[in-house]
Amino acid sequence: MSKSLLQQVADGNEQAVRECLHTYSGLVWSLARRMCRDNADAEDAVQEIFVSLWRSAARFDPAVASETTFVAMIARRRLIDRVRKQSRDDERVSTESAEPIQAAQSDTSQMSEQAKRAMEVLADLGEDQQKVLRLAILQGLAHEKIATATGIPLGTVKTHIRRGLMQVRGRLSEIEGGESPRRDVERVL
């Protein structure tokens, strides 16, 4: 079985480092652009993310997650940390991009198996819960800001997020013949 890109990066393969950029630049940029305040901030963020990714490449384990999901996880860790350190008082909260989605209308051919499962869970959720999850995960909004922007009580926002994540986690555990994701995903940061 051929090695994944990140495993090749961990082996010191220079070409794999560049290939990693080529493969994941769109995903990482898309995640950063939605959570950062402007392009300059997003550019800083993607630099941090890729350096962090290369450094942690040896910790990628295909038995735990797909490579794409691992990349998204590393990216989110850096972005959450970054957003928390920034003052977001001036941010404009837009709920326009939080419209509910239909799994059948989404092109899942580019998604990892984990993302497909997550999409199935998302599509089955109610409109409010989808909206809350999208604002929390894709835009990186604080729970209080989501409550303010949507008019949904804070307690309900937290419940929507918690239950949504638990449902996705449960669905992911069905991959690999009912095994849950392995327990040894190491902290990278």
Partner: protein, 276 residues
């Protein structure tokens, strides 16, 4: 394996919060205490669930290609990262008669010191920064800023921005992204109230929107975070510059006063600036 439902709703709330908006200091303490009881597995699984959702949402919305200019700069970051991973031979120059020159020995000594520091567990350094600075000074690649005694008017900025009596300089090695700021006159700080933070202005970085009114073009950018530090003693101190991103062309080094933990985007309460 099946997930045993936990009765502790607070634990799950912390996991969800950590995987989405992150944890406050107080919640981090609560999380770490609970993690001792419940283990790390569920926290990791919540992170993976959030990552899978993020991937699904981003692809569903359509992936936005990275702009060419950003991609080109990222290619440079990759080149520098690759370069940094490749062990470089120690450039020992030979003097007349085949005897190693002092410069060669100094460079070798600096390299050994750096290697020693890097090899320590957890990247912790117990080597005196002042000694490291001295070693770096011997490197042919390093540059040193002039000693600046404030309140001069460095870079044409009004002197009222600076505390009086502060003086310092910077030694910086562009190839290794390593450097030290030597500074005196900074007030001892209470880390629970504020901390000092170092910044590196890199000539190759783009301008940010927040600092459009800065008096120099170079100051209009978001600089590279050079690390947070505390001053615990009066007199001269040497601070290692811990650049969080690769630096291509360092031009200015700044120290600002920031909230505990530092900032990603500084409010620019500048107390010291040094230019190479």
């Amino acid at each position: 394996m099946s997930h045993q439902p936990k009765t502790n709703d607070r634990w799950f709330e912390l996991l969800a919060q950590r995987a989405t908006e992150g944890l406050s200091d107080a919640d981090t303490q609560a999380f770490e205490a609970a993690q001792d009881e419940y283990g790390a597995t569920e926290a990791e699984e919540f992170e993976l669930a959030a990552a899978a959702l993020a991937e699904a949402m981003a692809i569903s919305d359509e992936i936005e290609p990275m702009p060419d200019a950003v991609r080109q700069r990222l290619d440079q970051v990759a080149d520098r990262w690759i370069e940094a991973q490749t062990p470089a031979p120690i450039p020992i120059s030979r003097g007349r008669g085949g005897v190693l020159s002092w410069t060669g020995w100094a460079v070798a000594a600096a390299a050994i010191l750096v290697a020693f520091v890097i090899s320590l567990p957890g990247g912790k350094t117990d080597t005196n920064p002042a000694a490291m600075r001295t070693a770096l000074l011997s490197s042919q690649q390093s540059e040193v800023s002039g000693w600046i005694s404030l309140p001069d008017s460095p870079l044409g900025l009004p002197t009222h921005q600076f505390d009086k009596g502060i003086a310092g300089d910077v030694v910086w090695d562009e190839t290794a992204d390593e450097g030290y700021m030597r500074i005196s006159g900074l007030a001892i700080n209470d880390p629970t109230k504020y901390q000092y933070q170092l910044w590196v202005f890199d000539a190759t970085r783009p301008p940010g929107e927040q600092y459009a009114d800065a008096p120099l073009d170079i100051l209009k950018q978001y600089p590279v975070d050079g690390g947070v530090f505390d001053v615990t003693t009066t007199g001269e101190i040497v601070i290692p510059i811990d650049a969080k991103l690769p630096v291509n062309d360092a031009v200015i080094f700044a120290v600002t006063v920031e909230p505990p933990g530092g900032s990603v985007v500084s409010q620019r309460d500048v107390v010291f600036l040094a230019a190479l």
